[in-house]
């Protein structure tokens, strides 16, 4: 009973994204059955993974509410990409996943902590604080890596091919564990109403700070997935993920006001955008039209969600 109701309530909050997912999947299967054969699933997931990762990474700070957002996720992915390939792999000769993966996650955690410090302790508005980080990271990335360079370690490239599910699965498991800790309830409480959370004894600043660190760690992971996909280092790709990831999060029913939604919704939103991209590219549509389509779908989705909520409120 409670399982079913939980599924139903999940469906309500991300309803439109799920419907869109089914429709787009069907359209894709009809248009290009070859691309969606089981044999190519690995590569397909690898292609979608950086966006899904970026959307998951953007989620915790948005859930924490009061304008919480991290627009530096994209540049962080680019920075991790440049650090891992250019500095650690090519210059320092480190190729072991046992060193490169923790290094990428650590970079993410540090950048996340810096964002968290600015947004929650110095109390700069999150969008301004992370805009600063956005610009700094973009600049630093271009300084250490003026032009694209390759290659990437073989094991890393495999993470965009046959093993592409692995990093995503690890991110989901990590989030699933977070959901079962007391921290998750505090995060949702803070996102829902921070004054009430304070009165209930929740350390609001600490909760928000940790959300930024989590976003950073997930962002580091997304940076690795990006590196796996492009199999090289490219200073210009990372920053493009920021806005599309936020679009995916909103599409997935995560309220930008905080306290509502989750990682699953964000991931579904990201898959929607990926599938939309896939449909439109089969028609050889230009990338400009692609942008228009993202925007239109996003506005439509947010409108429908708001409408749905208003109807639900009236029903009460």
């Amino acid at each position: 009973m409670s399982q079913i109701s939980r599924l139903l309530s999940l469906g309500r909050s991300i309803g439109f994204a799920v419907v869109l997912l089914v429709v787009l999947l069907a359209v894709n299967l009809i248009l290009s059955p070859g691309r969606f054969q089981p044999g190519s699933w690995g590569a397909l997931v690898g292609l979608a993974a950086p966006l899904i990762g970026a959307a998951i990474a953007s989620t915790p700070v948005i859930l924490a509410g009061r304008g919480g957002i991290d627009i530096s996720v994209g540049p962080l992915m680019g920075f991790v990409n440049a650090m891992v390939i250019q500095v650690l792999f090519l210059k320092a000769g480190i190729s072991s996943p046992l060193l490169l993966v923790p290094a990428a996650l650590l970079i993410g955690a540090l950048i996340g902590a810096a964002n968290g410090f600015l947004a929650t302790i110095v109390r700069i508005q999150p969008i301004v604080a992370t805009l600063g980080t956005y610009l700094i990271l973009t600049g630093v990335t271009l300084t250490i890596l003026p032009a694209p360079i390759g290659p990437a370690p073989v094991w890393l490239k495999a993470l965009a091919g046959p093993w592409s599910m692995l990093p995503l699965a690890l991110m989901f498991i990590a989030w699933w564990l977070v959901r079962r800790t007391p921290y998750y309830d505090q995060l949702m409480a803070v996102g829902s109403d921070d004054r009430a959370a304070y009165t209930a004894g929740v350390d609001v600043t600490r909760v928000r700070f940790i959300a930024y660190v989590m976003t950073g760690i997930f962002g580091g992971c997304a940076g690795l997935m990006l590196t796996a996909l492009i199999g090289s280092a490219d200073p210009n790709i990372g920053p493009t993920y920021t806005l599309i990831a936020i679009a995916a999060v909103a599409l997935g029913g995560v309220s930008l006001a905080g306290g509502r939604g989750g990682v699953a919704g964000a991931a579904i939103g990201a898959i929607d955008i990926f599938l939309l991209q896939s449909v439109l590219t089969t028609f050889n549509v230009s990338t400009f039209v692609l942008q228009i389509a993202y925007g239109a779908i996003l506005v439509l989705a947010v409108m429908l969600t708001a409408l749905q909520e208003r109807l639900a409120m009236r029903g009460r």
Binding site: L177, D185, M188, D193, A196, A197, A200, G201, V202, D203
Partner: protein, 252 residues
């Protein structure tokens, strides 16, 4: 949020507490098992006084000390107050109390999350069991604990918030107009619960905008006027006339 055994409450000592500049200091003691009412015209300091007891507002002078068996703790901030065993139920339920997007169960547990953990992870069964104790005690009418709290009536939302505060197992409970916007039937359930808590040795401080409620519930009432205690009335002297004349600053 600290886990602690229910402390043996010995009283709350308020010494020379100044709640507004220029106001004369307040010295009071709240004994175990006592229900003290706070009355006054709106904005005459009674709410500020309650918030200072909760550690939510810094006093301008004086001290608040909670005496427990074997130890006494000065209240210097909200977190310290919660950790020492002071629970506060906010006034404006919608703005400061409930989390509208969260379930009844989550709303109940948010102050005491660490008590449901097994090896660091939350056990939903333990939380549900803990909630059921208070649901029974407060007769909360919530058909499904995993439904959003906004599906409950105002009175039941208030009961959930009270359950949240009681789950802290406080030594002293501070209630800021707890029956505001609550139906009559629920009020009587709450009164019954308050009396039961006092009988168990808890100290209760209740701010109420209704004099009848204070007369019905409290053994003693502090009437505030211009950020000072204008009258401390108890026993037979406590009636509508004496409280109202103190509120308006007339000699009783």
């Amino acid at each position: 949020m600290a886990d602690r055994a229910a402390p043996d409450f010995r009283g709350l000592a308020i010494r020379d507490l100044v709640i507004a500049s220029g106001a004369s200091p307040i010295t009071q003691a709240i004994a175990p098992g006592e229900i003290v009412g706070l009355a006054g015209l709106d904005g005459h300091g009674q709410e500020l006084f309650l918030k200072m007891l909760a550690g939510l507002a810094p006093p301008l002078g004086g001290s608040i000390e909670l005496a427990l068996s074997g130890a006494s703790r000065k209240i210097t901030g909200f977190r310290k107050a919660v950790a020492s065993g002071i629970a506060y139920l906010p006034r404006d339920r919608r703005a400061n109390g409930i989390f509208p997007t969260q379930s009844v169960l989550d709303n109940f547990a948010v102050s005491t999350l660490s008590r449901d953990t097994r090896l660091g992870l939350i056990s939903p069964a333990a939380r549900k069991a803990r909630y059921d104790i208070y649901r029974e005690k407060l007769s909360i009418a919530a058909p499904r604990p995993d439904a959003p709290i906004t599906t409950l009536s105002g009175g039941n939302q208030q009961k959930v918030l009270l359950a949240r505060a009681l789950a802290l197992e406080p030594a002293i409970l501070l209630l800021n107009d707890p029956t505001r916007g609550v139906d009559v039937a629920t009020r009587h359930v709450l009164y019954h619960v308050f009396r039961g808590l006092a009988a168990d040795g808890m100290g209760l401080v209740i701010l109420s905008s209704e004099i009848e409620e204070i007369l019905l519930l409290c053994q003693r009432v502090l009437v505030f006027r211009e950020n000072e205690v204008a009258a401390d009335i108890s026993g037979d002297a406590m009636n509508t006339d004496s409280v109202i004349s103190a509120m308006f600053g007339r000699a009783a």
